[in-house]
Each structure stands twice: as structure tokens, then as C-alpha cells.
């Protein structure tokens, strides 16, 4: 039911882990629904230089987390922010329809991490 690309990211997920001195951290989903994604980002200037993730969830959740790290690294924050769940699914050559709703949270996790980065850098620049 999963595309080869999903299976590739599921079996060899890229960028698993945490970033100790992350510039932003995002977490979405909840254990009740069976999917939690946590994303760490490192930003240099305006460019995302590193992303790491940890995910509790099904194959689709793991693969979307993995692929969005690749999609985000090298993009500016403003560019990364515009990535949609739909684009994540397309990057994976599609997801089964039941998975579109519940397990495709990666774009939201990235958004949350960027929001966190903004808040922190606002604070930094304000201080």
C-alpha cells in the first residue's frame, strides 16, 4: 500500500535524532491519536542548515518526518514555512488516502519548529 519512496524513508529514515543546541523545536500530534512528531531545526542566517526528528507513529508518519528533513535543509526559513502537507505527500509519490488525514503532520511540525525559532530569535533580538 505504500510507495517505494515511502518504504525507503521508512526503512532508512534520514536525520533521526535530536539537536542539542537547536534554534527551534516543534512538536505536533498526540499519543491518543497515535502520532507524535518532534522536529529540531538549526538556522544559520536565514537558512535552515540542519533538521532532526523523532516520531512515534505509523510508517507514513515516520516517512513524512524523514522526507521533510531533506526538503527543509538548505531552504530559507521563509521558503520552508511554505511547505504543505500535500507537497510532503507528493515528494513521497503519494500516500494512501487513510494516511493523508492522520499521519501527515510533518509540515505542521516544521511550522511549529519555525514558530519556536521565531519566538526565540525575537526574544534574542529584543534582549
Amino acid at each position: 500500500m505504500y510507495s517505494d519512496k515511502v518504504m525507503d524513508h521508512f526503512t532508512n529514515p534520514r536525520n533521526v535524532g535530536e539537536i542539542a543546541d537547536a534554534d527551534g523545536i516543534g512538536e505536533v500530534g498526540n499519543a491518543r491519536c497515535g502520532d507524535i512528531m518532534k522536529l529540531w531545526i538549526k538556522v544559520d542566517g536565514d537558512v535552515i542548515t540542519d533538521v532532526k526528528f523523532k516520531t512515534f507513529g505509523c510508517g507514513a508518519a515516520i516517512a513524512t518526518s524523514s522526507v521533510i528533513t531533506e526538503m527543509a535543509i538548505g531552504k530559507t526559513v521563509a521558503e520552508a514555512e511554505r511547505i504543505t502537507n500535500q507537497e510532503v505527500a507528493e515528494e513521497l509519490h503519494g500516500l494512501p488516502s487513510v494516511k493523508m488525514h492522520c499521519s501527515n503532520l510533518a509540515a505542521e511540525a516544521l511550522m511549529a519548529a519555525i514558530e519556536d525559532y521565531r519566538k526565540k530569535s525575537d526574544k534574542t533580538s529584543a534582549s
Partner: protein, 380 residues
């Protein structure tokens, strides 16, 4: 290791069916010729099944499977007996074929009581007794649960229900090929089973209906099954069902001993993984059922990894069903959502050996470790 989902047809069973796909293709309702021989095959299958259940042959209705059997039992008894009352009792861990039938009847004006279960997934007979009302017409409690393997005290519950004067149905889909099936000892008025769970064909089942229990058909039409289930009979399927049930019942004691040894080896091995919990009773348990929760990981990703290693399994994970909630059975047993999401069901069968068990015991710990390393919930 997903034998609770379905089983492969036994070659002996296929052999018993093939004549009815070939020269013996008659319609059992035709009066003469080929029809007569199809009728004889049906009669003989019916005798076999009724014999194994300790019933008489006109108490057996052939169906298209366990779901139809449960729907026919529940809706059929409800419709035919609504003048006596409109209250129905069932349990929170039933298969959806039972639960959804009962919930649909609720929308049609019936009143429903859904009994809770204890932490091991058992229904207490005392709670059935308490829930019975003067207008209770039907109680439906499954013989053993398909997810956690817990066996219910059917005989005891049956005695209470009979004493009260209501009818009692048990969904024996998971037990028909595994446990003793005397409807007298079980104290049931209706019992449904499905051939593909005991190495018979898919799409055929049977409903035991005690003489004297009034039932409306679910499928109206021809006079088949003594007007209780219309439709040209699936002769080959019915012959296969009878053959498969006969073989399973003949071999069950020996096979159960073998499966219990494998099951316990598997449970013991899996329990060595930290933060792991067995679901269901360890005593009143199907010989082939293993169900565990690994904390901090989600079930579907577990299944997918096992599948990549050639092991078929099942999970109460919501992600395998497309709904948001995990197994209603595990939740009814008091598990939290996040733990219920991490359940793994392995169900053993005729083709499983000790080597299979050992292979699983070698793979699962590595998969669990890998997934936990990826989990934001795991503090390592």
C-alpha cells in the same frame, strides 16, 4: 503469524470441495438429477456440523461467514421477538459484527446495554445477571476474543440467561476449530462460526439456532435453509466448512497442546523486552494467541517492519484501520490510548514451528529497539 485473521485452506478441504466445482454443480433446490446430489452433499455437511455441535441438523443454518451469522442472530432474534421486549445486552469487546449490529438496532428503537470487562478482558457473569431486565430478549457475548484471546465463561453466562428466559448468542468465530463446541454444555441458543478461521474456505459460515427460537431472516427469498436464509447454497463452500470443522475438532487436543507450548515460549521471550505488557488472561486464553504492548512505539510501524522480515502479524493500532482510535478491546480493558497504539498480536497456526517462534524472538527485540530510538516518548 496472523492465524486469527485467516487461515490457509487445508488441501484435504480443497479436495472435498473440488467435485462441487466440477461435475457436481447442481442447484440443491432443483428437485431432480444434479440437484439431488447437491442436496445430499448439503445434508451430509449439515449432519457433520450438527453432530460436532451436539445439535440436530435442522438447527444449523449455513451463512456467508461470521459477520452474516452474527447479524442474522442478533437482528433476526431482535425483529422476531420485539413483541416480548426490546432490550439487548452485549459486551464492550465484541467483534464489530456484533457491536455494530446492536448499535444499529439501537437507532431502530431497541435499548442496548454494553457490559464492561475486567483488565484481562473478561465479562463477569454477575454483571450479566444484574443487567438482565424483564424486557431483555437477547444477550450476545463472544466465546473468545479475537484480539487478546480471552475466553469468556459462556456456559455460566448461558445458564443465567436461560434461567431468566432470554435468548443467548455467542460469537464462536475464534473458537469453533479450537475449543469444545457442544451447544448443550455451552448453554447457548445461537452460535455463529466462520470456516476460514479453521482452515476452511472464506465466505461461508454457520449459525446454530436452537429449535423453538424465533428468528426473522436477514436475507429473504427462496426456501433454502428452511426459510431462514435465502439464496442458492454455496455447496462447495459448505462441504469445505464441514470437512474443515471435522478435521479441526478431531485434531484439536493434540494441536492445542503444541500451540500452547509455542505460545508460552513466545510470550516469555517477548516479555524479556523492557516495558512490555501482555494483554488478556494468561489462563483463560486461546492456545494460539499472543498479544503484547511495547510502550513508546506505534503498532503499524512494528507490523511494517515485521512484514519486511516475512512475518505477518496484526495490531490494535488505529493506523491499520483508518480510524483515529486504537482497538476498542484494549481500551475497554483499561489501557491508555498511547499504550493501546503499541500492541502487537501474533496468532499461531498449523504451519508454525518452534523455529518460527525463535525467528520472531530474534527479530522483534531489534525492531522495538530501533523504533524506540526514534520515539520522542522514549527516554531510553
Amino acid at each position: 503469524m496472523d492465524h486469527a485473521a485467516t487461515t490457509a485452506l487445508r488441501p484435504e478441504v480443497l479436495d472435498s470441495m473440488l467435485p462441487y466445482f466440477g461435475s457436481e454443480f447442481g442447484n440443491a433446490s432443483s428437485v431432480y438429477g444434479w440437484g439431488r446430489r447437491a442436496r445430499q452433499a448439503l445434508d451430509s455437511a449439515r449432519d457433520t456440523v450438527s453432530g460436532l455441535l451436539g445439535a440436530s441438523s435442522d438447527e444449523i443454518i449455513f451463512t456467508s461467514g461470521g459477520s452474516e451469522g452474527a447479524n442474522l442472530a442478533i437482528k433476526g432474534v431482535a425483529w422476531a421477538n420485539q413483541n416480548r421486549g426490546k432490550h439487548i445486552i452485549t459486551s464492550a469487546i465484541e467483534h464489530h459484527a456484533v457491536l455494530d449490529s446492536v448499535l444499529w438496532l439501537e437507532k431502530q428503537g431497541f435499548e442496548i446495554t454494553i457490559l464492561p470487562v475486567d483488565a484481562e478482558g473478561q465479562v463477569a457473569p454477575a454483571q450479566v445477571a444484574e443487567a438482565l431486565r424483564p424486557d431483555t430478549i437477547l444477550v450476545s457475548i463472544m466465546h473468545a476474543n479475537n484480539e487478546v484471546g480471552t475466553i469468556q465463561p459462556i456456559s455460566e453466562i448461558g445458564a443465567i440467561v436461560r434461567e431468566h428466559g432470554a435468548f443467548f448468542h455467542t460469537d464462536a468465530v475464534q473458537t469453533a476449530g479450537v475449543l469444545g463446541m457442544s451447544v448443550q454444555e455451552l448453554n447457548v441458543d445461537l452460535l455463529s462460526l466462520s470456516a476460514h478461521k479453521f482452515y476452511g474456505p472464506k465466505g461461508v459460515g454457520a449459525l446454530y439456532l436452537r429449535k423453538g427460537v424465533r428468528l426473522n431472516p436477514l436475507i429473504h427469498g427462496g426456501a433454502q435453509e428452511k426459510r431462514r436464509r435465502a439464496g442458492t447454497e454455496n455447496v462447495a463452500g459448505i462441504v469445505g466448512l464441514a470437512k474443515a470443522l471435522e478435521l479441526a475438532q478431531e485434531e484439536r487436543e493434540e494441536e492445542n497442546a503444541r500451540l500452547i507450548a509455542l505460545r508460552d515460549r513466545l510470550i516469555e521471550g517477548l516479555m524479556r523486552i523492557p516495558s512490555t505488557k501482555v494483554n488478556g488472561s494468561l489462563v483463560q486464553r486461546l492456545p494460539n494467541n499472543v498479544n503484547v504492548c511495547f510502550e513508546f512505539i506505534e503498532g503499524e510501524s512494528m507490523l511494517l517492519n515485521l512484514d519486511l522480515r516475512g512475518v505477518a502479524a496484526s495490531s490494535g493500532s488505529a493506523c491499520t484501520s483508518g480510524s483515529l482510535d486504537p482497538s476498542h478491546v484494549l481500551l475497554a480493558m483499561g489501557l491508555t490510548h498511547e499504550i493501546a497504539h503499541g500492541s502487537l498480536r501474533l496468532t499461531l497456526g498449523r504451519d508454525n514451528t518452534e523455529a518460527d517462534v525463535d525467528y520472531v524472538l530474534q527479530e522483534v527485540p531489534m525492531i522495538v529497539e530501533r523504533l524506540r530510538a526514534m520515539s520522542p516518548l522514549y527516554q531510553g
